[in-house]
Amino acid sequence: MTGSIAYLGYGLAAIGPGIGVGLIFAAYINGVARQPEARGMLQTIAFTGMALTEALAILGLVFAFIFKG
């Protein structure tokens, strides 16, 4: 079997951000379910948090392409 271990590394690197994004949207859904009128404010915060968490996965993807050898 041949291939680049960098892609395997990316798969591992995506686990953390995946869990993080899941937690953020779980909290967002909880918040909206409790207080539907806060939706607009929570939406901005949720997407900002998602963008910051997702940055880790994106860095992993870029590094996978850089280090594929």
Binding site: G40, F47, T48, A55, F65
Partner: protein
Amino acid sequence: MSLHAMAANVLGGLTVAGIPAEGGGEGETFQAPGTEVFYWPVIAGQDSSWAITRPAVVLLISVGLIGWFFIRMSGRRLAVVPSKGQFVGEIAYDFVRNTIAKDIIGGKDFIRFVPLLMTLFTVILVNNVFGIVPFVQYPTMSRIGFPIVLTLIVYLTYHAVGIKTKHGIGTYLAGLIPPGLPGWLKPIMFVLEFLTYFVIRPLTLALRLFGNMLAGHLMLLVFIVGGEYLLLHGDNIGLKGAGVLSFAFSIVMTFFELLVEFLQAFIFTLLSALYLSDAVSEHH
């Protein structure tokens, strides 16, 4: 170079999915599509200091489309009961002005930045959606140069606004440290905040857009090219069935891409507004 060749190159986007598989020889081994699908021959100006490439043509088309749409909309008298075109334009403007700029920057400062944010949002959205529009099918932002330029505009703007608000570079840099910290913590916080403002923010802003567009387009290609290979070169009925399934799933993924493309335009504009709101606030 003639307009003909340019048009042919743009229209050639339809066959982009077929290239890597066909290039890999008649079905001996499957060649998964890689980053090479984003490299296209230079259309004009190979030997000079400038060049027109396929993403540049897509970008120009998008700018022309957006300009035509909004100039046409503002040229005629706006109706109280909007036409379809005016309705779309109003929704987009309302979204950027109220949901992004007003909610995040707030106060009376936000209206200054609405033109910048509106431009960023429409350019990124149209260019991203071009990734799945038939005959164009090239997400401009999957070439890192384009997100870098957009990020550079945002980067220079929020630093310039910050320096202007704080009346000088010295006070701007001093303002990076959150107030109310013990003295020994200040140097550490300054290094961290400095890195955040000057390195991490622009880096992630550009790479997020680039990475999402690149990965999304590659994923679609894997499903379509892989489905084509399974269907045409599969040995038994099971593999051919998997090929059909892969094609069907690629349609689902195309709609998912539409969501991601909108989301990325939204997030880029949202984060730009967030950085600008940091810059216009007097205290950190």
